[in-house]
């Protein structure tokens, strides 16, 4: 069961695209395009204020229509991931407002929005404990694991689709979200594959930051 396509699609990102946001990024992974913006730390509303740490508010905006229950599910996933990677106890009684806007659905929306939020946080200069990289992989009908599937392979139908996110220190699992049913060994194999693929994304982060500061230093 070799995996023919084991590379991550082309990654492109442009940071500080929004002038008024503290951190913002337009991120694209293959033809999935997501925009993320970070406003904060700002003054929290009275009832939302936490006395010992920063309150994180996250809104996920779909391309068309109003955010529904599915978007609320995604919001909770990304929000608890941010709660882990941002050092929230350094800014008690404040709030940060993170917005994720879907621009184009190329199949792996959840992974792309997590990577976009991580880049936006990098751009905003908030204190982070570690970085996070999310990878999606798909097990098609013939039990082949396809990494970072594009929308056409997803539309063909699949047995299962996994999204894993790893931290940059020990590459441990931070977030996992799966659809579909698959035997345990295949699940384990998919996770290990995604873990290796997350290195590609961490290197991309390093280059993005390098590119950003290089033209500023010139």
């Amino acid at each position: 069961m070799e995996t023919e396509e084991n590379s991550i699609r082309a990654l492109k990102c442009e940071q500080s695209v929004l002038s008024r946001a503290d951190g913002s990024v337009m991120f694209s992974q293959g033809n999935t395009v997501v925009m993320a913006s970070v406003y904060g730390p700002l003054e929290a509303k009275i009832q939302k204020e936490l006395s010992d740490r920063m309150y994180i508010e996250l809104n996920y905006k779909p391309k068309t229509g109003m955010p529904g229950v599915a978007e609320r599910g995604k919001e909770k996933l990304i929000k608890t991931t941010c709660n882990h990677i941002i050092l929230t106890n350094l800014h008690p009684r404040t709030a940060v407002c993170i917005t994720v806007q879907e621009m184009q659905d190329g199949g792996t929306l959840l992974a792309a929005s997590i990577n976009a939020v991580c880049l936006a946080l990098l751009d905003s200069g908030l204190p982070l404990q570690c970085l996070v990289a999310a990878v999606t992989c798909l097990v098609d009908k013939k039990d082949r694991i396809i990494l970072d599937p594009c929308i056409s392979t997803v539309k063909e139908g699949y047995k299962a689709m996994f999204t894993f996110a790893f931290d940059s220190q020990k590459y441990n699992l931070i977030l996992s979200h799966c659809e579909g049913q698959v035997p345990y060994q295949l699940f384990q194999k998919a996770m290990v594959l995604c873990q290796k693929a997350s290195h590609v994304i961490f290197d991309f982060y390093r280059q993005a930051v390098l590119r950003k500061f290089s033209n500023e230093l010139l």
Partner: protein, 276 residues
Amino acid sequence: MATDHKTLQPLEFYKTFLDRKSRPDGRKLLEFRKMTLNAGSIGTADGSAIVKCGNTTVICGIKAELAAPEREEPSKGFIIPNVTLPSLCSSQIKSGPPGETAQAATQFIAELVNNNIIMDLETLCIKVSKWAWVLHCDLLCINLDGSLLDACVMALVAALKNLKLPIVSYDEEMDKLISNPDEKMGFDTIKQPVTSTFSLFDNGILISDPTFEEEQLAAGLTSITMEGTSVTHMYKPGGCTLDEKQVKKLIQQSELKTKEVARLIEEACSSSIAER
């Protein structure tokens, strides 16, 4: 004095228990709470079940209706789950529009149902692109004491097994549905996924089937849904990290619970009340 310590310094109070590998309610770290299941207890619902995992109690009531299937999937019926947390179930839940926990739980159950894990939606279709069954599964949590997803999935599966629908046939020329009320269609052959929730502490300790306080104090939460030996869903919404060893340990632990619950559901559907 213990109750003061618990309210003033909840985390330290709990850590003293964790160091001795036990928990305030006397359970070991990876031990599940007592589960009770009672199928078919609501007369007005087509299928119903009440599940009690420890103190967390969820009632699932299914009402069936008829509707035309969608154009893109003309041969599929619908299962519409809806998890409601009334303010009756815990002091933290305010009355008003559903909060984040309720919507996240509804989304979790919707994903489980939509990709044919529990049952094939084609069986709900009566006449392709004309008539299909719509099952409104309402999951009502009446006491929230942690690991809500475990109780919801078990209640939904038990209620679906308990569901009885009249057999309906489509009459071509009269363009009408004929149903003979005495014959009932059961759904005993559906697959039975089982969810087990664990909460993770930053010093690497994993505990299973957390209560409401344990969920608040924990650094992370994960729910693994399995069916037999295959993994259906590993839902880990962020929180502290897990390495492969820990993931393997969690999956073995939830395999144990899967057998336990499968037997419980079998017992419940034969007699009406079962306990472990």
